[in-house]
């Protein structure tokens, strides 16, 4: 329980009410986007420079480390138009890995998922714009800080009524669940009399403001500044609050070589000026990006979406094959004469039909590795989830199909002296298959659509790729339309094909 609470987002406990007052004083006038990089540069702890020790780097040299990160926390990590992970964290990590001669295998999981993956040793490190907090230090070891953050407030571009916290009286503001913005908003909401609404990610939050459901957002300033530069339809109206520092984390007492290499590499990059270049790339004097046309959006996002569609189809195909086997096995158990076997099959069906697919996905990806100590990759966990879930429904389809064949068919076959297995194989099953086929096609479509739920565990299927795209370009509506159209086209083609095969073979 405690562990889970610690795993919430960026530094819930970092800011108290007293800090807020200090921050208001210290941060006054410091946070226009243009001056940010300079401020950052000065804000960084210089302690690491002295600690550069080439010897420390050699421990990590040549090794490959799995590093988890958030799915979208622009400008720290997000996917560009061609689906590649970029951002300050990503560029920094890769540059440090280069500098120190180790390799990284970056897993884009989502913030909570990344921390859970680290705790279950599925990855060796996490870099995800994560604040260094005392609570987190209890379970993680942090690198030297590589970025100093802080919270700002933004409102819709057209909104001239809200300029200060005092203008929020009686209104609703959007925050990102578990973020520093949420902590800060909660710390001042009573004083200024507004309501806080917690949402899952930045894009949703901005959409909520643009839709008028909330009047303002509180978010980390680099995130907001980047969003504004990408035409997210907002404008920043308050100065930056004093915030916490971001660090790279490993499990406490583990992977000291990786941590040392990170610190050494960071110091080297700072000394060479490469660090500053990376920050400038995302934050310095952001030019307002030109809004591209729908067709340009389509063309730009197409490669990433096709990659996602491929993963969707792969997961669907694998899951359906396994689900079919499970459905046949348990379906036959359900119609067997043995009470025990029938009960076993019923338990399986009830468990997987009686719990949400989403909970099952979380369990197999996060829960099971923590129980067994053996990490599962996201495709495996996703396929296991979908197979077992679809298998439960397939079991019922198989049972229903077999039971809908006239019992006289089995009797006639048995009366000829044919055994149970032969009778099922030659007489009952061929007729049951014909009855089951439409339900199979239906389940196939459902499973294909259910793959979209795997986006939450960071499986890079179609919906996930769509989320990645609108998280960095903030064009939610158009992107979701494209994603939905792709699902529709694929499902339409596949169902027409299935129905044609059904007609051909099940005359």
């Amino acid at each position: 329980m405690n562990i889970y609470r610690l795993a919430t987002r960026r530094g819930r406990a970092a800011l108290g009410a007293t800090l807020t007052v200090m921050a208001l004083l210290l941060g006054a006038g410091s946070a226009s986007a243009a001056v940010m990089p300079a401020a950052l540069h000065q804000g960084l702890a210089p302690a690491a420079v002295g600690a550069v020790a080439p010897a420390a780097a050699s421990d990590a040299k040549g090794k490959t480390f799995a590093i988890a990160t958030d799915t979208t926390f622009a400008p720290f990590e997000f996917r560009n138009g061609s689906g590649d992970l970029v951002g300050i964290d990503m560029d920094l990590l890769r540059a440090i890995a280069d500098n120190q001669g180790f390799k990284v295998d970056i897993k884009s999981l989502g913030f909570d998922a990344a921390l859970q993956a680290l705790q279950s040793n599925q990855v060796q490190g996490v870099i995800a714009g994560m604040s260094i907090t005392d609570k987190r230090k209890l379970i993680f070891d942090f690198s030297n800080p590589y970025f100093d953050s802080g919270v700002q407030m933004a409102v819709a571009k057209s909104n001239d009524a809200i300029k200060t916290y005092a203008d929020l009286k009686g209104k609703t503001v959007a925050v990102k669940r578990g973020s520093e913005g949420e902590t800060f908003a909660n710390s001042i909401k009573d004083k200024y009399g507004f309501t806080v609404k917690a949402l899952a990610d930045s894009a949703t939050m901005y959409d909520d403001v643009k839709a008028g459901n909330s009047v303002a957002v509180f978010d980390d300033y680099p995130v907001l500044a980047y969003g504004v530069s990408q035409n997210n339809g907002l404008k920043i109206v308050t100065p930056k609050e004093q915030g916490s520092s971001y660090g790279f984390a490993v499990n406490k007492g583990q992977n000291a070589d990786l941590l040392a290499a990170f610190d050494a590499g960071l110091a080297n990059l700072k000394a060479s000026g490469q660090y500053q270049k990376i920050l400038d790339k995302y934050l310095a004097a952001p030019e307002t990006a030109k809004q591209t046309s729908f067709f340009e959006l389509l063309a730009n996002s197409f490669p990433a979406l096709m990659k996602g569609l491929g993963m969707t189809l792969l997961a669907t195909a694998l899951s359906l094959i396994i689900a079919l086997v499970l459905g046949i096995v348990f379906g036959f158990l359900k119609v067997s004469e043995s009470r025990v076997l029938r009960i076993i099959a019923s338990i399986y069906v009830e468990i997987f039909r009686g719990t949400p697919l989403l909970v099952q996905a979380f369990f197999f990806y996060f829960g099971l590795p923590q129980l067994t100590g053996r990490p599962l990759d996201v495709l495996t966990a996703g396929v296991i989830t979908l197979s077992l879930n679809a298998g439960a429904y397939m079991t019922e389809i198989v049972r229903g199909g077999i039971q809908s064949v006239d019992p006289g068919q089995l009797e006639a076959s048995r009366s000829l002296g044919l055994g149970y297995v032969t009778s099922m194989r030659r007489v009952v099953v061929p007729q049951a298959v014909k009855i089951m086929t439409p339900s199979f096609i239906n389940q196939f479509v459902i499973t294909l659509k259910d793959t979209s739920l795997l986006a939450v565990i960071g499986f890079a299927e179609l919906t996930y790729q769509g989320q990645q795209i609108y998280a960095s370009n903030f064009r939610t509506g158009e992107t979701l339309l494209i994603v939905a159209a792709l699902y529709f086209i694929v499902i339409f083609i596949l169902t027409q094909l299935s129905n044609a095969l059904d007609r051909k073979f099940n005359k």
């Binding site: 009366s415 000829l416 002296g417 044919l418």
Partner: protein
């Protein structure tokens, strides 16, 4: 293989046969011996247990109590190979139960081929011979759905004969047929009787029972109420219940 207390020479021997569905006792201790070549017709009102009795003879129903011995096999012995016993007993159902996904000839060939009694060519030749016997040679490759009721039942009889059984069981074989088709099916059964096949025929066709039966059994409420030659049963009924039944159906 040991035929326990069965009567010597009996093809089928039923001793104190009881059958219950839950708490409902459908058969209440039947005693029947059927000799080789004998044609026994079972008559009686609906729900009297005729069909259940028939279905106990090849153990399509689990037997609650008593013994059924067929061709020397004790069906109530858990070690008995039911599949082997059933190859000696052909059964014809009220609703034909033809396999709709197979052609007529495939229906007939299924058991001989699956049980490796014959190769495909041999099974087909034998199947064609049986079809000729029931007068349906030209329907060999038709689907059951395209046949009339009478034709379906004749195919079902041919299928039941494919394993060369020594016993044939008919469970109201003409009850589901349109009246004009009853005759063609009864003719096939009549021919089988003439060839000396041991048969147990559950039927509502009293005229037919009178004509082909060596013995008629009248069942009512799970017991054998009266049995005897067709002449005795139809001409000189003793029990009021049989008299009552005959008054209604004749």
């Amino acid at each position: 293989m040991t035929a326990t207390p069965a009567a010597a020479g009996a093809k089928i021997s039923v001793r104190n046969l009881k059958k219950s569905f839950g708490s409902n006792e459908v058969l209440k201790g039947l005693e029947v011996d059927i000799a080789e070549g004998e044609v026994v017709c079972v008559i009686g009102p609906s729900g009297s247990g005729k069909s259940t009795f028939l279905r106990c003879l090849n153990k399509l129903e689990d037997i609650t109590g008593g013994t059924v011995t067929v061709d020397g096999y004790d069906l109530t012995d858990p070690k008995v190979d039911l599949n082997a016993v059933r190859q000696h007993i052909g059964m014809v159902f009220q609703h034909f139960n033809l396999f709709p996904h197979m052609s007529v000839i495939q229906n007939i060939m299924l058991a001989p081929v699956e049980l490796k009694k014959l190769d495909r060519a041999g099974a087909r030749a034998k199947g064609m011979e049986l079809l000729k016997r029931v007068g349906l040679s030209e329907k060999a490759d038709a689907r059951p759905a395209s046949l009339s009721g009478g034709q379906k039942q004749r195919v079902a009889i041919a299928r039941a004969l494919a394993m060369n059984p020594g016993i044939m069981l008919f469970d109201e074989a003409t009850s589901a047929l349109d009246p004009e088709m009853v005759g063609e099916v009864l003719q096939v059964i009549r021919d089988l009787a003439a060839e000396g096949m041991t048969m147990v025929v559950v039927t509502h066709e009293m005229g037919f029972a009178r004509e082909v039966a060596d013995r008629v059994i009248f069942m009512d409420a799970g017991v054998i109420c009266e049995e005897g030659t067709p002449e005795a049963i139809f001409g000189n009924a003793q029990q009021p219940r049989l008299q009552d039944f005959l008054a209604k159906v004749l």
